[in-house]
């Protein structure tokens, strides 16, 4: 009966109009809304919902749940959303270890996953999947950009990242482009709050620069402790380490830090000029990179949904892949492995009217893809 009803609605909807949105789309947004990573998840949710709200589309429903940054919880929520809520598309996971726990199962059950952030190397190469899209980047990208940037003026770098898939991707990406020597390569614990031991090693390393990939609360703790330590070696990192969600908490200790990003608040394009004020008006704070990525993920889904039925995954994913959106990042298209090809910039933390924010200082990569795309045959 249920299948008959579904088939009937499908036939009706197809017959009734080939125009937009006859088919309701149900999206499951799983993200981190509590704990030290909550800032990232809140921006993900708010960026996503802003695009949905702006579209005025009543056929799209989004159900949101908090994964508390715990893989086992994310899997439970995903199972529940797929089996009892019957969602069509999953999205929103911030962390690569959680994504790795959820995505293989979800795509095996025929659900589409559009990532708003996490992009582990494992899912970009051989194990890529036609139902898995990434609207953000591939994990290595921003780190590659910093490796390239460090070539200008840094000879010996101290590099560190948390010990989880994105952390390994991070340092791999950095080293892929950095031509100088690596003084030391340190993996910290995920969610670590005390960096005294690492700071002591930085002090003793004789490095002329520090590359730290520490998203969310980890970066806040590290930068605050680093500022107190008396170590003066300049710190750089991927955009996450100095993104808008952590800057107010780090405070002036972040001033002058260089970071890489595929978006910044001052990026000059029409979509961005509309997006930043709209986000500020809606939520009363500046958007972070996570908000932009989620905003684009929602735009991608809306764009595909206006042209194909979500029940026809082949047609729907073909539309998704066209990436027919106006991204605040400017140029945006999908690579063969359904990860973005986009420009990447280097930014500097500055004070703009009393508010800490990132300002673009140069474009480091143009139309940058990732190193795993050739390995993706699906």
């Amino acid at each position: 009966m249920k299948t008959f009803l579904k088939a009937a609605t499908l036939a009706l909807s197809l017959g009734a109009s080939s125009l937009a949105m006859a088919e309701p789309v149900k999206i499951g947004l799983i993200t981190t809304l509590s704990g030290g990573g909550a800032g990232l998840g809140l921006d993900t949710r708010d960026g996503f919902m802003l695009a949905i709200k702006q579209s005025g589309n009543k056929d799209v429903t989004v159900i949101t749940e908090d994964d508390a940054q715990k893989p086992e919880l994310a899997v439970q929520i995903a199972d529940k959303m797929i089996q009892s809520e019957d969602v069509d598309i999953l999205t929103g996971i911030v962390w690569s270890n959680l994504l790795m726990a959820v995505v293989p199962g979800a795509v095996a059950q025929g659900k589409i996953y559009v990532s708003t952030n996490a992009a582990p190397a494992a899912l970009a190469g051989e194990k890529c999947d036609p139902l898995y899209f990434n609207a953000a980047y591939q994990n290595d990208n921003l780190h590659e950009a910093m490796g390239e940037y460090a070539n200008k003026g840094y000879k010996k770098m101290f590099i560190m990242a948390p010990n989880y898939p994105a952390g390994k991707d991070s340092l791999t990406g950095f080293k892929r482009y950095f031509k100088g020597t690596v003084a030391n390569e340190v993996y910290t614990q995920v969610g670590q709050t005390d960096y005294a031991a690492e700071i002591a090693q930085i002090r003793a390393s004789g490095a002329d620069g520090v590359f730290a990939f520490l998203p969310g609360g980890m970066g806040i703790a590290f930068m605050k402790q680093y500022a107190q330590s008396g170590v003066k070696i300049p710190v750089m990192g991927p955009g996450f380490s100095f993104s808008q969600d952590v800057l107010p908490a780090i405070g002036d200790a972040a001033l002058g830090a260089k970071a890489s990003g595929q978006w910044a608040k001052d990026l000059d394009n029409e979509a961005n000029k509309k997006f930043v004020p709209a986000f500020e008006k809606e939520y009363g704070r500046l958007p972070s990179i996570y908000a932009v990525q989620a905003y684009d993920a929602a735009q991608l889904i809306l764009s595909a949904a206006s042209k194909a039925s979500v029940k026809d995954t082949a047609a729907f994913t073909a539309e998704l892949k066209k990436a027919d959106i106006q991204s605040p990042r400017g140029k945006f298209k999908f690579n063969t492995n359904r990860h973005p090809i986009q420009d990447i910039y280097v930014t500097e933390v500055v004070k703009d009217g009393g508010v800490l924010t990132n300002k673009i200082i140069e474009k480091i990569f143009t139309d940058h893809g990732d190193a795993y795309a050739q390995a993706c045959k699906k």
Partner: protein, 306 residues
């Protein structure tokens, strides 16, 4: 490895140890005197941190915040002792674990309800900002030195309290024979509430001090609680002296492990691999230490009661 690095890491280890001692002292005192396993001890640490951050943000003074963290966690401790914990002394440990685990959930959700999911921030007081020079050319953050000093003072104070005062005598008496001290006319219920509040205040004090180094957030107490349990198991459950030695041991072994293991491994495997494996091994190290100590001395280093 240079001399300066060794000194700095040793200090880091001691600082971590001192923080753990403040947590473990309360935990072990409560177990020693009341025979109670209190999983909610980490929540009291969180209460202290939140109280400190809130009062410091409101008044602009870190020191008032620290006083507030002591007061708030002692009050929260006394409150849960009177309402919940008191009913658990006669029950077995499983009931205690269940009830105090429920308290963790209640505290966490309560804090989330009151303060939201975003972490709060607490700045280091201007007096303790910056770094001081160390022998050997190194530098060390002044605030961390202050934590070590505060912890040492608390340890001394606790020693004085327990060995020199009437209250301490009653605590010791309570540890060795509960029925007898009640029979001698000591108000055991008030004593238990006092001890519980004291343990809670120590945890809250630790929370307030650590809050300035890290972010203050819901659930911050549980990782520390696990370490504190490792400390009291190593030190011998119920022994303050054991808690102190155990805490310093865990602090130094953990910090030195994180530094040395990757370096030792890098002699055998490529540096990237050494970093990964060394990092993973270092996080297991204190548990391995605990297992080894338990194999040799099943009751811990300083068992409280023979």
């Amino acid at each position: 490895m240079t001399f300066a690095l060794a000194i700095e890491q040793l200090l880091n280890g001691v600082q971590l140890g001192v923080m753990l001692f403040l947590m473990a002292a309360g935990l072990t005192l409560i177990f020693g005197v009341m025979g109670l396993i209190n999983l909610a001890h980490g929540s009291l640490y969180m209460v202290g941190a939140f109280a400190c951050a809130t009062v410091a943000a409101f008044t602009g003074s870190f020191w008032l915040g620290l006083v507030a963290s002591l007061a708030a966690s002692a009050a929260a401790g006394a409150l849960i002792e009177i309402t919940v914990i008191r009913r658990l002394y006669a029950r077995d440990h499983l009931d205690q674990v269940l009830a105090t685990f429920a308290l963790i959930l209640i505290f966490s959700e309560g804090m989330r309800w009151l303060f939201g999911s975003f972490p709060l921030y607490l700045d280091i007081p201007p007096l303790l900002e910056g770094a001081v020079a160390l022998p050997g050319g190194g530098q060390y953050p002044l605030y961390r030195l202050a934590i070590i000093l505060a912890g040492a003072l608390v340890a001394l104070g606790l020693y004085g309290l327990i060995s020199r005062t009437r209250l301490g005598m009653r605590i010791r008496a309570g540890e060795s024979d509960r029925e007898m001290i009640a029979a001698l006319g000591v108000d055991i219920r008030t004593l238990y509430t006092l001890v519980f509040a004291l343990g809670a205040a120590l945890a809250g004090f630790a929370g307030g001090m650590v809050g300035a180094l890290q972010s203050v957030q819901v659930g911050m107490g549980e990782p520390v609680l696990i370490l504190a349990f490792v400390v009291i198991v190593i030190g011998g459950i119920g022994s303050i002296k054991g808690a102190l030695i155990g805490a310093l041991l865990v602090g130094v072994v953990d910090t030195m492990g994180r530094l040395l293991l990757p370096q030792v491994l890098s002699l055998m495997v490529p540096p990237a691999q050494a970093g990964l494996i060394g990092g993973a091994l270092a996080s297991m190290l204190i548990y391995i230490l605990m297992a080894v100590i338990l194999a040799v001395k099943p009751r811990g280093l300083f068992p409280a009661q023979a």
